[in-house]
């Protein structure tokens, strides 16, 4: 610290530096957080005059009586359980391979990372075209190995798969980078020592890489779960302003968007936002307690 003691003068100086951030965050972050929790229990509410008629659990009762909300919950969980393991396993394998390359390692890293910097909406348009049932490139490729054309985007059985494949493709690069950082942080001497003791590369992977990489794996997993819980852009753009065939890709945030923006049921939408928050909170708490016991730092 460049000032040793704190007094009213140093405090005033510090708050002047903080002022611009505080102003913006108070209006557009703190106030809306408080407001959206409150809105979720307002039942008769006029948001423009901010008049509250009654308070209660009706919004949550509405959610748990709404079949669409259950569909959204179920789909979101399917999406998370589909995307997260696939992304983690694939990005770990690719990171391990990139780490072993002698030449062009950075070129490959550039390529794998490319989808991350591209607009989700724009690239979802491209996937929409790739998934086209008659002229799409994917069905053409599948046709080469004798698989009948699949109606990826209009068949409720395949729509979720289409969404998951695209999302894994887009998210790989980011997680590969994190795994590469984790791998670089492992001291090479562990491997040398293990090799002297006669451990083969599989044993080295199992007994050195896996435990020493566990903080990274943990971070990547939590992050990926939270991001996946909030999936929206991909759905909206891939199915062109719809939650997929027979709501096959109606997710929690999509549900929130529909209630808020299309149906103007602000308090219901706020309540679904609270449920999203609680889900993310549960994940964070489970992961935190798990990491205390199992992650080898």
């Amino acid at each position: 610290m460049i000032n040793q003691k704190k007094n009213w003068k140093t405090t005033l100086q510090a708050y002047l530096y903080l002022l611009p951030m505080l102003l913006v965050l108070l209006v557009f972050c703190i106030y809306p957080i408080v407001q959206s929790f409150l809105m979720s229990i307002y039942t008769k509410y006029d948001f423009f005059t901010n008049k509250v008629g009654a308070i209660g659990w009706d919004n949550f009762r509405y959610l748990f009586a709404d079949p669409d909300f259950y569909i959204a919950l179920k789909n979101t969980l399917i999406f998370v359980f589909g995307v997260v393991p696939l992304t983690i396993v694939l990005s770990l394998i690719i990171a391990l391979m990139l780490n072993k390359l002698r030449w062009f390692s950075s070129l490959f890293r550039t390529i794998y990372f490319l989808p991350f910097v591209t607009s989700t909406v724009a690239i979802a348009m491209v996937w929409n075209w790739i998934y086209h049932s008659n002229y799409g490139f994917l069905n053409y490729l599948l046709g080469l190995v004798g698989i009948q054309p699949i109606n990826w985007l209009n068949d409720p059985h395949y729509a979720m798969w289409a969404l998951i494949i695209m999302s894994v493709w887009k998210g790989l690069g980011f997680n590969i980078i994190l795994f590469l950082v984790g791998l670089n942080n492992i001291d090479n001497r562990y491997y040398q020592a293990a090799a002297i003791d006669g451990a083969n590369s599989w044993q080295q992977f199992l007994h050195i890489t896996v435990p020493l990489l566990s903080p990274t794996t943990f971070l990547v997993t939590v992050n990926e779960i939270i991001v996946s819980f909030k999936v929206f852009d991909q759905v909206f753009a891939l199915f062109q302003n719809s939650p997929g065939p027979s709501k096959a890709c109606l997710t929690l945030v999509y549900y929130l968007y529909q209630k808020f923006y299309i149906e103007n049921k602000y308090t219901i939408a706020a309540a679904s936002g609270v449920i999203l928050f609680l889900l993310i909170l549960v994940v964070t708490l489970i992961q935190l307690s798990y990491s205390r016991r199992h992650v080898h730092y």
Binding site: I2, I33, L114, V117, A122, W129, F137, G173, K230, G273
Partner: protein, 273 residues
């Protein structure tokens, strides 16, 4: 011998993966240069007979993409610049100054980072409606003029600069303000560049918030404009792909030039911006 074999195998697998990663981009560019009849040829053609650049002109005529582009550029630049300035100021206070309430404020804002941003949509929409800013740049920019995540990142790198440098500057007559802008900021150049580039990519690609607060070409950004265009373009995939290419290219160029900083930024933060 065994080592060479495994290296060859490694390159084959990694290259196959790279092709899968690149395929959608190549397919997009290829389609964007085809005629409408060429797009539906089976087996698909990769390189059209004549490269039809006219598709780009046609897409531009079909929707106000130039306007969307200007909107995106303005919103991205102003948001990023504003956020970096507010974050540099706040990060300086958190990293270098002692003051009452510091620990509380810091943990408090750290805690708010756990709240999903989607929860803020509704109240922020109401606030901006009351300010009569819906469908203006104001609605797109104001909520993003500060980010605690960016503050957090910059605080880390400011802390890495030793206090002795401050005292040396002080002897040379520098004020705190001068020290921040003339010494601390230049010394943290690479971190600042990293968060700047990550923020630019985030702003450029942002979708849900711009979708909600814009309703015509006045303020629509490129991703929202592109989404609106799909309804008009219908099955004209060559136009759609031309427009998509146009949205994607600027960030790809930015990435290719500033890759080093982006990777460094992600490695340090480990979080999506």
């Amino acid at each position: 011998m065994k080592k060479t074999m495994s290296q060859v195998l490694l390159y084959v697998i990694v290259s196959l993966g790279a092709i899968i990663m690149l395929l959608p981009f190549l397919w997009m560019i290829s389609t964007s240069l085809k005629t409408s009849t060429e797009t539906i040829k089976i087996p698909p053609i990769w390189i059209p007979k004549v490269l039809r650049w006219a598709n780009y002109v046609e897409a531009f005529k079909a929707a106000p993409f130039m306007r969307y582009f200007v909107n995106s550029v303005v919103v991205t630049l102003v948001t990023t610049l504003g956020q970096i300035v507010t974050s540099i100021l706040a990060a300086f206070a958190f990293a270098k100054l002692n003051f009452h309430g510091k620990n509380f404020l810091f943990s408090f804002f750290l805690g708010t980072m756990m709240i999903p941003g989607e929860m803020l949509l509704i109240p922020n929409f109401v606030t901006l409606s009351k300010m009569h800013l819906i469908n203006t740049y104001g609605a797109l920019i104001l909520p993003y003029l500060a980010s605690f995540f960016t503050v957090f990142m910059l605080k880390q790198s400011f802390q890495a600069v030793p206090d002795s440098i401050y005292f040396a500057a002080k002897i040379d007559g520098a004020s705190d303000w001068g020290f921040l802008w003339r010494i601390l900021v230049p010394m943290s150049k690479s971190s600042i560049t990293a968060v700047t580039v990550l923020q630019m990519i985030g702003s450029w690609n942002a979708f849900m918030w711009p979708l909600i607060v814009t309703n015509d070409a006045t303020a629509r950004t490129l991703p929202v404009g592109l989404q609106a265009f799909t309804t008009d373009a219908g099955t004209e995939y060559q136009l759609l792909m031309a427009a998509s290419t146009f949205v994607i290219i600027p960030m790809v160029i930015l990435y290719l030039f500033l890759q080093k900083y982006i990777i460094a930024g992600i490695s340090k933060s480990g979080l999506k911006g």
